[in-house]
């Protein structure tokens, strides 16, 4: 990649402020550091990854509203966690967290357990219980 070819495909994902370093060759063939504002394929891939996340969050929110799953499942998606990671954060087994995703079981959780979930998701208990 030549210095002039270093991509400058700025994208709102970078918020216009973030520039990364790339190594590219100058006219005499020497490698130099050049700042890049981003590159289209990377922007596409990143966009796509977020779209996937957003779709999952949206689906989870709808299912919470329909009473099919508990807020735990919704906040898990929202925080880009998977079952293993969430279980690790709240100090429970995966099957226990899975149970807590049932609305009926979730309703009976102790205040202490709710607090642990709230901490893991960085929200208050009130926010945890009432998904907006």
């Amino acid at each position: 990649m030549k210095k002039e070819e270093v991509p400058q495909d700025s994208d709102n994902l970078h918020e216009g402020t973030f520039k990364q370093i790339m190594y590219a060759v100058d006219n005499s063939g020497n490698y130099v550091q050049v700042q890049s504002a981003g590159w289209e394929p990377e922007n596409i891939a990143l966009d796509q990854a977020w779209e996937e996340v957003n779709e999952k969050v949206k689906a989870a929110r709808a299912r919470v509203a329909a009473g099919e799953i508990s807020p735990v499942a919704y906040y898990m998606e929202k925080n880009l966690m998977d079952l293993a990671l969430l279980a690790n954060y709240v100090g429970k087994f995966q099957w226990q967290v899975k149970r807590h995703m049932k609305p009926g079981v979730f309703k009976k959780l102790s205040p202490k357990m709710l607090q642990r979930y709230a901490d893991a998701f960085k929200v208050s208990v009130t926010e945890l219980v009432q998904v907006k």
Binding site: L13, F18, I21, Y31, P41, E42, Q48, A49, N88
Partner: protein, 334 residues
Amino acid sequence: MSNSIFQHKQTAHCESGVISNLLGHQGLQISEPMAFGIGAGIFFGHLPFVKVNGVPGTTYRIWPGAIFQRVCKRLGVKMESEKFSTPEKGMLALDKAVAAGIPVGLQSSVYYLPYFPPSYRFHFNAHNLVVYGKQENQYLVSDPVMDTVTTIDPESLSQARFAKGFPAPKGKMYYPVHVPAKVSLEKPIQEGIAQACHFMLKVPLPMFGVKGIRFLAKRVANYATNPGDRKATLYLGNIIRMQEEIGTGGAGFRFLYAAFLQEASVVLKNDQLSKLAGELTQTGDLWRNFAFAAGRVCKSRSASDVSYKELSEMLMTCAASEEAFFRKLAQVKF
């Protein structure tokens, strides 16, 4: 120990960048490509069974921490490295080090670093940054992939250092305690090159090195049927991101390694290395062409069998080019 102000230099990759910045602070000037090369950072691996968010893992570099260990060993740098059982202990140790004027490297999760654009904040736990001071209850941060120095509040930093998941950083904190006043780079460079060639050519598993690229190519050829269109674009997206996102220098570290070879050829007075650097640049451009084509497939969202076959062939070309390159590199006489 020097007490001078910490010099922040933006780099392409966090691990080699932190090494370069920390050692530079102690008077041992070593560029990022040099650190990357001596640490034999270049690699390839595709692990369909290790899934992150349901997507198979692909890597263009050696596992986290390896570059660090190797550079320290080869240059005779002694590092003090600690992990902690609780965030309180970890933050206390950090405060002590900072009060003593020692800039320290920290392993952290990207997800909890508020100074990153939100779009980059995924649960990635092997990021490295330097904390070099504390002012008004804010830590002064030199994050090597950032343009300039920044600050972070104690709570976020604590969360980032003690993130759960794999690999759990457990507050890992490290700093050099002994840096040799003078180092000779010849031998470390040669050892680094030999090790990189070994990892790219001789690992007896199909997922790694040049074989790993072909392994991925064969899987991509069948992406239309396995895992099927929708997932296939996600898989492709991940391959691109591992290759082009912050911290890769573009083209999956290939340009970074080429820059190392160029520097090495000056140190060792060996023209062959600079010629090989030129060849690796071309290989890097092949990788970029692949990313561009793969990006288009991602964007169109559905692709014909033919386009996956084409992508697969591009990967095969990358593999052939890398194999030829590393075979020549392994033959270079010093």
